[in-house]
């Protein structure tokens, strides 16, 4: 491993951090190598490598948290940082830290072959422009990060973790007259090796190009409240926003969630089971250990409509008098951990997806979702429709554009009328408190009896 620090030295840093009265301290040291390739305007515009390294020290005392970081990771610098972080919780009894236990090492190293990826991106970008005369701009981005992390805490934890994360992004802009329509497709995983075939990548490009081109002919979306069916291909933005964020222990323990104090209560239709699972192999939101050194796990949050548990990191679990669920994550050493989702999904049900649409006289069908946002205290959430259709007499009719949907988490999940037996995953980047982390989400085909569609057309 890259860090030359001995266990004695790490122990010394932690001891320094709590010597003024902190009751918990942890150290997070990371070194990240990033490779980035980008094509635009028919040229390779970005092809570079970079290195980032730094360390953060956190000291807790009761509900107080001090977080100090630096990117000078020399031992004198870290000891000075530990001293300063420790001083900000001065006072009270000094808790002796536990001795570091046997260290755990997870993950395997591996580097990326940026030249090979660059050649692929160059070829794919060239072929993309051949797909249609309507194509106006193609942007392809590929990012690969390899991170080595050392995590240690006064609870005796010592974890050395190596992780990889790759992301492929394509944006196609199609043009007709003065109208421009944009479509995006993404792909991401946590495997060390580059296992995506050119065919798979090109299929993503083709989908984006087709959708952008189709949207040129779309009608304005309707407005007002109506039944909505979301495809399993749509991604999981809805579950991520409608209940995921509201079940994060920091919002819950501070009383900022519509789901607070509701454990054991029915918060959704009995067909709804919601799971957060960091252990799904190679998924974009997966991890062996979270960024506080706790094992990633599978948590059933809502089972058959009943609220079973919240997600916690160390700080929020202390406040709630429970323990971490392995959901303490951070963007990098520059941030203190927060409660975050991993891969969040609604479990498949038993309805035939085709029948869900066929049984509706009128409504709205979401084939693909974009981004979203939630206000956790009220449960109000919005999400963007990247591809949507009207449902009339059990059939999909007009393709529409410029639609976002608004609903309320507990209300929407309680008015579910169908849960399909299918399931489709999507990747995303989730922003919270100024930090972005990679997540996965998914759902089966879902029918909700009423959401508000904010289009410009009439009903």
């Amino acid at each position: 491993m890259m860090y030359r620090y001995s266990e004695e030295e790490i122990q010394k840093i932690l001891n320094t951090a709590v010597r003024h009265g902190g009751d918990y301290a942890d150290l997070y040291l990371s070194k990240t190598a990033t490779g980035s390739v980008s094509a635009e305007e028919k040229k390779i515009r970005r092809f570079y490598r970079g290195l980032d390294e730094g360390a953060g020290i956190r000291v807790l005392k009761g509900d107080f948290s001090a977080y100090f970081y630096t990117n000078d990771i020399s031992l004198p610098s870290l000891l000075a940082l530990a001293e300063r972080a420790g001083e900000s919780v001065r006072g009270g009894d000094v808790t002796a830290p536990a001795a570091l236990g046997n260290g755990v090492a997870v993950g395997s190293g591996g580097d990326f072959d940026l030249e090979d990826i660059g050649r692929r991106v160059r070829r794919l970008n060239g072929e993309a422009w051949e797909l249609s005369e309507k194509i106006h701009q193609v942007t392809i981005n590929y990012g690969d990060t390899r991170r080595e992390t050392l995590m240690a805490s006064t609870e005796g934890k010592l974890i050395r973790r190596t992780s990889a994360r790759k992301r492929f992004f394509v944006q196609v802009v199609a043009k007709s007259g003065n109208e421009l329509q944009t479509a995006i497709e993404t792909l991401g995983d946590t495997e060390t090796a580059f296992s995506w075939s050119d065919e798979l990548l090109f299929e993503k490009i083709r989908r984006a190009a087709k959708r952008a081109e189709r949207q040129l002919k779309a009608k304005e979306a309707p407005s007002g409240a109506m039944p909505v069916v979301m495809s399993s291909e749509a991604g999981g933005t809805m579950v991520h926003e409608a209940c995921g964020h509201g079940l994060e222990g920091d919002s819950v323990s501070k009383g900022l969630s519509v789901y607070k104090n509701r454990l054991g209560e029915k918060v959704a239709d009995e067909r709804i089971t919601v799971i957060d699972d960091a252990t799904l192999p190679s998924h974009y939101g997966s991890y062996a250990y979270d960024d506080e050194g706790n094992e990633g796990r599978r948590s059933v949050l809502i089972k058959d409509g009943v609220l079973e548990q919240y997600m916690y990191d160390i700080r929020s679990s202390r406040r709630a008098g429970t323990s971490s669920t392995g959901n303490g994550r951070r963007e990098s050493y520059r941030f203190a951990p927060q409660v975050r989702m991993s891969n969040t999904f609604i479990a498949p049900g038993s309805d035939d997806p085709a029948a869900v649409i066929a049984d509706l006289k009128s409504g709205f069908f979401v084939r693909k979702m974009g981004g979203g946002q939630v206000n956790t205290i009220s449960g109000d959430f919005v999400f963007e429709v990247s591809e949507g259709y009207l449902i009339e007499n059990g059939e999909l009719t007009d393709l529409v554009k410029n639609a976002s949907l608004i609903g309320n988490g507990p209300k929407a999940l309680s008015s579910v009328f169908a849960v399909g037996d299918d399931l489709g995953f999507a990747i995303g980047t989730c922003g919270k408190g100024g930090q972005s982390v990679p997540v996965g989400d998914a759902q089966p085909t879902i029918g909700i009896s009423e959401l508000v569609i904010g289009g410009r057309g009439s009903r």
């Binding site: 001090a66 977080y67 990117n71 701009q137 003065n178 407005s223 009383g255 919005v382 508000v452």
Partner: protein, 445 residues
């Protein structure tokens, strides 16, 4: 390390780059520090301190731009980054428009900010006073957060064309968030302000506005679907501006991603609409004499009386468009190449008080906040966003709105601005007054 020490190491790397075959080389170094203290319900809850530095190596070899970045500003890591940047030249396409800024430009004078660091005792006193100000109303259940943060940073830029620039910046920000509750309904309210020094912020005002924001949202409900005249509060106006501004970036215009391309000189907004990008803006948090490519910063007119005046450029896209850089070559951090970015921007205030505008609306909507900004399409300008605000009935603010959407197109909306108000509000380093739109589709019940 001293500035002289850094410059010596950078000069070595510049010479090394030339000796390894680069035609030109430029090194950008940024350093930042921040200290933030936070209270929750009047008790200290968080202390965050950071110090961060990084460098990037930009070079040109045979017309190809190379790039790499790193953390440690020491001789060997910097030389390794130069090697990496040269390697990237093997792969990238040449870009004849990519170039560095030569020494000898005239730079604007920027007032030096001399504010003393805020002591811990002072911070605690400010946060406690804010907590008290926020909690005055019985409907405030909790003061979730009051915080004071100080930021400082520096940028050093040197290249083989003799450029040797250094600048520092410093600012303070204050924020508050509350939970308001009435009749079983709970809402979060918040406010934020930043300035070059703490004495220029009305901290208790921030706290009071956060409380008023939370209280105002209580009891809101979806409103009736329809078309309404809409007054945008400055906060919502700034959100809309943030969606609109990308269309004024010269790189997006050159890439065909701005519908405003080829329309300079045309009236694209209503009369009375003036929009500027201005790194030297008087109220701005960090007035900047030069951009991240070493070009002098200035005030750039984007819209004057509704007429499109021009686009913003960095070195590369100015050259593509056959123009001069506008001082908008910005990189978010040392980890990226400078692209075209926004400095401080503002919509100029008009002369009508918002109360007068409301008084003239018989049936309308007052939008205070928008949800899901990243869902809008900055290329087409189409948006469908969540709305938080109030109805306006008979010239008076009426019941609260939530669970509703506003849908339209940014460029249509610009044409339909009927009144620009006099309540110019600066939030951080951007500013806008309220403005009234003739008609917008609102979806709800």
């Amino acid at each position: 390390m001293t500035e002289t020490g850094k410059k010596k190491i950078i000069a070595d790397a510049l010479r090394y780059a030339l000796s390894k075959g680069a035609d030109q080389c430029e090194i950008y170094v940024s350093e930042s520090r921040s200290e933030s203290t936070q209270m929750r319900d009047g008790t200290l809850s968080d202390d965050q301190t950071s110090s961060r530095s990084g460098f990037s190596v930009r070079l040109i070899r045979g017309g190809v731009p190379g790039f790499s970045y790193g953390v440690r500003l020491e001789k060997e890591p910097l030389r390794r980054a130069v090697d990496d940047a040269l390697l990237s030249c093997d792969f990238l396409d040449p870009d004849e428009d990519y170039h560095f800024t030569a020494a000898g430009k005239a730079y604007p004078d920027v007032p030096a900010v001399k504010s003393a660091p805020v002591s811990v005792a002072e911070k605690k006193a400010v946060l406690a006073a804010m907590t008290a100000a926020a909690a005055k109303d019985d409907r405030i259940r909790r003061v979730e957060r009051t915080s004071v943060s100080e930021y400082g940073g520096s940028t050093l830029l040197m290249n083989t064309l003799g450029l040797d620039l250094y600048k520092e910046s410093r600012f303070v920000s204050v924020s508050a968030a509350v939970v308001a509750e009435a009749d079983g309904d709970e809402q979060i309210g918040g406010d934020f302000q930043a300035a070059p020094s703490l004495d220029r912020i009305d901290c208790e005002g921030v706290a009071s506005r956060a409380a008023a924001d939370g209280i105002e949202k209580l009891g809101a409900a979806p409103t009736d679907t329809g078309e309404y005249p809409v007054l945008f509060h400055p906060d919502a106006a700034l959100s809309l501006l943030s969606l609109l501004l990308p269309s004024f970036l010269g790189d997006r215009a050159e890439k065909g991603l701005s519908v405003l391309k080829d329309r300079v000189g045309e009236r694209i907004a209503a009369k009375g609409v003036f929009l500027y990008d201005d790194a030297l803006m008087a109220e701005t948090v960090v007035p900047s004499p030069f951009d991240d490519e070493g070009q002098p910063c200035r005030r750039n007119a984007l819209l004057e009386d509704g007429v499109l005046k021009g686009f913003l450029y960095n070195n590369t896209y100015a050259s593509r468009a056959g123009r001069e850089s506008t001082g908008n070559g910005l990189c978010g951090s040392h980890k990226t190449l400078p692209s075209v970015g926004l400095n401080s921007y503002y919509l100029k205030k008009g002369d009508i008080p918002p109360e007068k505008v409301i008084g003239a609306v018989s049936d309308g909507v007052w939008i205070k906040d928008l949800m899901g900004l990243h869902m809008a399409d900055p290329v087409s300008g189409d948006f469908s966003l969540g709305v938080i605000g109030r109805r306006i009935r008979g010239g008076e603010p009426a019941e609260g709105i939530r669970g509703s959407m506003a849908a339209g197109n940014l460029f249509d909306l610009l044409q339909n601005i009927e009144a620009v108000c006099d309540d110019f509000t600066v939030v951080g380093d951007v500013g806008a007054p309220s403005f009234l739109i003739k008609s917008l589709k609102i979806s709800g019940k």
